[in-house]
Assembly symmetry: C2
Homo-oligomer: 403 residues x 2
């Protein structure tokens, strides 16, 4: 696998580490990481909206409230999601934050925790505690620390997913640097997405949640690999302020920061889709001309979630009827003779009439990234969703996950 470049320790004020501690049983693979700020820094986070919510998500939410959003560290592990684990799971997640706090000299509520892996198995705490101790001794503020952290949270992603933007304004510079753990080859179970973003910009705590939620809404929330919402999704943003650049509310600098953040998250989101569940090909489902944006999103999500669409994508099969029919079943307003479909800008269905499948369209279906552009002709609503194909690797990986 390509080596991570360790972006999250590029911004000043952060150190990180990653270790192998045996949470992933029987394999000496990295499975735990620590990300530590030099002092409590303003933080924001978004979490899964699944009503089955993993213990680390519950504990992190609680700690963000108790600390009023000032965070020292994140402890994250792969190999076990600590979800559906009842009271013991909660105690275990708390213990992970407590031990981390002790070792770095912080309060437990200044520590967030994130886990990914199989659901419904108790967290192997002996391994986790040993890992946290080891990781606390290896913290490093250079790129190696960031790289080790990322390795610690990957399960079997085929490549590390990092993105970074540096923003220059009026002779000054700050960094926005993010990593994500996607759904990958051997243990992709729940698409349990963990993402951590650091910046050395100086952000106002009260603005951060809005900025992060908006960016996530336009990036991570617009991808789907298999439509199965995780119990562990977590995206954390930490701002050290160490660049000296102050991002004030609603100013030009905030817009610059927001754009950089969105670009970083979009790059990470697309990397997840590219690495989704053994995928060979990605797609964007664009819907325009819908009665409303919500209608467009409903159609785009339905199409992106259809196994028939995804297997056709795998087989490079220009079976476009599957796309139109799924949009028609999505519940959005729909009139056949106003509907058109383009595949990589080539028209295949115009105002309810099919056109011949040309060689060009067959070739378009074979490209690495296919854009389906569905125009409903009913209004100005628009949306888009990114997804990947569903092929034999997906079946192989997911039929053999826990046993």
């Amino acid at each position: 696998m390509k080596r991570p470049t360790g972006v999250i320790t590029h911004p000043a004020g952060f150190s990180a580490s990653g270790v192998s501690c045996g949470i992933k049983t029987g394999r000496d693979l990295p499975d735990l990481g620590l990300l530590v700020a030099e002092e409590p820094v303003p933080a924001a986070a978004v979490f899964t909206t699944n009503k089955v919510c993993a213990a680390p998500v519950l504990v992190s939410r609680e700690h963000l409230r108790t600390s009023r959003g000032y965070i020292r560290a994140v402890v994250a592990n792969s190999g076990n999601a600590n979800a559906c684990t009842g009271k013991q799971g909660l105690a275990d997640a708390r213990r992970m934050t407590q031990l981390t706090a002790e070792l770095i000299g912080a309060q437990p509520h200044e520590v967030l925790v994130a886990s990914t892996g199989v659901i419904g198995r108790p967290m192997p705490m002996k391994a986790a505690e040993a890992g946290i101790r080891k990781a606390s001794e290896k913290l490093s503020s250079d790129y190696r620390g960031g790289a080790a952290f990322l390795r610690g949270i990957l399960t079997t992603d085929r490549f590390p997913k990092e993105a970074e933007r540096s923003v220059h304004v009026a002779g000054r510079t700050f960094l926005v640097s993010g990593v994500v753990k996607g759904a990958a080859m051997i243990a992709p179970g729940m698409a349990t997405m963990l993402s951590f973003v650091t910046t050395d910009a100086g952000l106002e705590r009260r603005r951060m949640q809005g900025l992060l939620s908006a960016a996530v809404g336009r990036t991570f929330n617009r991808i789907t690999v298999d439509g199965h919402m995780s119990t562990n999704d977590t995206c954390v943003l930490l701002a050290s302020g160490r660049s000296g650049v102050k991002v004030t509310a609603e100013g030009r600098m905030e817009r610059k920061f927001a754009r950089a953040l969105e670009e970083v998250l979009l790059e990470l989101a697309l990397a997840i889709v590219r690495d989704g569940e053994g995928a060979v090909r990605t797609a964007e489902i664009r819907v325009r001309g819908a009665r409303s944006d919500a209608d467009a999103e409903r159609a785009a999500r339905a199409v992106a979630g259809s196994p028939l669409v995804k297997t056709a994508l795998f087989g490079a099969d220009p079976n476009w009827g599957r796309i139109v029919s799924m949009a028609g079943a999505s519940g959005c307003a729909f009139t056949e003779d106003k509907t058109s479909l383009r595949i990589n800008s080539l028209v295949i269905y115009r105002n309810g009439k099919p056109l011949p499948v040309t060689k060009d369209i067959e070739n378009a279906m074979r490209s690495d990234h296919v854009v389906f552009d569905l125009s409903l002709g009913l209004g100005r609503g628009a949306s888009g969703v990114y997804t990947c194909d569903l092929g034999h690797n997906y079946v192989r990986l997911n039929a053999e996950y826990t046993t």
Copy 2:
């Protein structure tokens, strides 16, 4: 393939035929069938609710209105869905009913039409017309006619799907006989479900729609193979009255008829799931204790539609966290510590606490039919959905459908 027994011509008053006419190009396979009543008989039908609606569905709906529900014949074909085919498609579907009417001596609006196959290709009308002519010469009221009809509408179902009940009351007997074309191995594209039910019971036309809709709601509408609603779903009920048994409104006989109809449709529905998209295993997702029936159905459908659940079913992997987490993401009311899950009656998750995966549970996952019983502990709402696994055959079949 097992030979059909030809049930739909068992009830008195019907004849049928099936032919190969070249709609399925390049293969000399049965692809058209005719089902004819001796005189106009009361009929009821339910159709897809997809807003992308195939031409034959539009024409059949129109004809049911024009004829006030008295129907002489159904012409059905496989190999081409005549969906997303614009005005030409409508003209073609009309022409199929018109030619059938001419040949059997009926009015065009007394003929229904149903098609299944690939979407977005013009109906090869030369072949279809030749097929209708040939089929009209081969009509037979014995079982051979019924068997040929069924062969004509199958695409590549691995086995014919027929069900029949005879009802005896007060020394008299009537039959309820149904066939269905499911989603199968080579051309399963849209799960375009066509089903035809004949009975020689005497039914009141005004009661038939309600009886059929209720039975479909409890049977066909409770299965999912891949969550992709067809543009062509059609289920037609025709009643010849030739048994001499009169089924009067809301009487004991009507309840008997309703039960027989539901049993026939359930048997057909389960056969579709068993033969779904290369499936090796079926499952029932039962949800109890929900806040409402609608909530229970929402959870059951979400679980049954999850590719992660379906690939685990394929691999006989007791990865039950996927089921609980999908229910949690479904939007139904949900409280983890009131939730329990059984697999073939063996408890694996009790009130939010995971239990060990035993050998018995591993064996249960390997059975041909697995019942997941999810209890939400919040109320009296209940529902259930039948589905099948998603394995390599599904991918293989659906990646190589049109090209």
